[in-house]
Symmetry: C2
Subunit: 342 residues, 2 copies
């Protein structure tokens, strides 16, 4: 099955390649009658433009890139990325833009991927996730002149637009909620400190706990894995004066924590309240069902892709804030018995 080119259409229509191109691109230079005839023939022959040829002549690659720099093992258990990807696809369906995906094992490889994509003209722009403290990527991309949209924020000192939701206020909401349930010692099991969103949440956590006058509210960093979550939970609960509530940065660690609590004879939610970030179906399936902070990763991906589309079209889209994460209370949180009534 030889692929159809505009030369085939031109021959069939009895016109030149140029006219076919004008007709297919809705540009002036052909009569309506000819245009209609050409479009009809193109349709009949099932023509589709060769991305390579188009890309070569106008420089556009008709593709966006997404690099995920996380350990391969960890990817499967982070619903976030797949949700994000399907959101991106949602924004891209309709346009002829495709998504190139790359999973790398370290930052240097990620930077190499950007350089390669740029040099090979493979993508028109990229979406950057997992922003880090002192992240080299915005600067590199800006130097290269490769359009990018950063996912996360809010950011200062970057030239790219970013798409973010207010994690800080979500953390504040959770802590206020736990405070209202009379919790006074709250622990936090966070992701890696290198991530900006971890830092944002950590800062919000420490500022809101001190605003509320809460003492000894520790944050422990992990790599998001169930093992690390379990270890952190054990450490926190082994304290002579252990927290009565724990806030986790993903739901897998929260599930692992339920297991640790059981193994230590601590009942949830009677003796320990648990809250998870990144509400996935998992949260409602485990027992007790997890109170969770739900982010809409798909909406995030969609907005980011839309912003990148506008950026590549030469507009100045500006940054976008998506609705903040919302707290979904379930059975893993409960009120602390009133000591006065005890």
């Amino acid at each position: 099955m030889r692929r159809v080119t505009i030369a085939d259409i031109a021959r069939a229509a009895g016109v030149s390649k140029g006219s076919v191109s004008y007709a297919l691109n809705d540009k002036p230079g052909v009569s309506d009658a000819t245009r209609r005839r050409i479009l009809e023939i193109a349709d009949e022959l099932r023509w589709a433009p060769s991305t390579a040829a188009r890309s070569l002549s106008d420089g556009r690659a008709d593709a966006f890139g997404l690099v995920i720099d996380r350990p391969a093992r960890a990817l499967g258990l982070e619903p976030f990325f797949m949700q994000l990807i399907s959101g991106i696809q949602g924004a891209l369906s309709g346009s002829s833009t495709s998504l190139m995906l790359q999973v790398t094992e370290d930052t240097e490889r990620e930077l190499d991927t950007y350089r390669m994509w740029f040099a090979q003209r493979r993508v028109d722009g990229v979406l950057v996730v997992d922003l880090r403290v002192d992240d080299p990527r915005p600067e590199l991309l800006s130097q290269m002149g490769l359009p990018a949209v950063l996912i996360g924020g809010p950011l200062t000192g970057v030239s790219q637009p970013y798409v973010w939701s207010d994690d800080a206020s979500a953390v504040r909401e959770v802590v206020h909620y736990l405070f209202a349930l009379r919790h006074r010692r709250i622990g936090r099991v966070a992701g890696p400190a290198k991530f900006l969103h971890t830092q944002t949440r950590s800062e919000a956590f420490s500022s809101v706990t001190s605003e509320l006058g809460l003492m000894g509210c520790p944050t422990v960093h992990t790599d998001y894995s169930d093992d690390a979550g379990a270890r952190a939970t054990r450490r926190l609960l082994a304290d002579p004066n252990p927290p009565s509530a724990l806030l986790f940065d993903n739901d897998l660690m929260a599930v692992a924590a339920l297991g640790v609590a059981q193994e230590m004879g601590i009942s949830v939610p009677e003796q320990l309240s648990v809250v998870a970030f990144d509400d996935s179906p998992l949260s409602r399936s485990v027992r007790p069902a997890l109170t969770a902070v739900r982010r809409d990763a798909a909406a995030h991906g969609q907005r980011a892709a839309e912003v990148l589309q506008r950026l590549c079209a030469g507009e100045d889209p500006g940054s976008v804030e998506t609705p903040p994460a919302e707290l979904v209370p379930r059975s893993s949180t409960a009120i602390v018995p009133d000591p006065a009534a005890g």
Copy 2:
């Protein structure tokens, strides 16, 4: 930052474009001295080939395609796909081949994607997952002449190579294991009947149970969601003569089943044994930890990508069988008390 082309290199080296091309592609036609000089200059100027130009002239797109036709919501909670993807990347790293990813909402859109990718010459070949009963894709791809590797099998009557692991024997192993634990009524909560791997497992399940003389071992089909898994579990356990063991087609449903058992006052593993397919970290995090059938999705992806590479290179790679899934016993399965000893 204007991108460097071979014309720039040619000018700098004082030779023609052709010589530069020969030198860069390690083809005869240039002297060693010239070749070295050209390579040096290319390196210095940070040249990288334009995929568009190369693709246009030699017809290769330097990209593989993967379409996932599952509801967007469901994707996040299936670790399988992300694992598969990282396996594919593993095989592709080193080559300059990229991965194009598309998530579609229905089969017709998936077929459209293949047609578009082919017509636009965007991919050199595709990986096909979630093979279905009467799957139209192998035939369509074969007609189009778009190289493809099917993930799943074993298959008959298809022209493409496939990469598979023996799900049937994994199911047989599980049932024999449960039989050895004195289980005589085993229920199965499966994925959608339309998938070939579901059918393979179902056939293996019904044949092994009847070989062992087990009566009334029902299979219930679901959409893999936690909700559907819970509903199926409720239905099976509400039977007057309920199964003493349940086998699930993914781990999310098995987790949901643990919740249902708890809600119905049935203790796991004392009164009910639970086995899950697709061992993810989740399985070991929940309590009781799930006995699971572990498949290596990443290895699957890697082998499939390797086969596709060879296929695109004009070889006839043949199909590949990956090591069968292995049973990982944990705490969700136990022996049924001996009625004679009761």
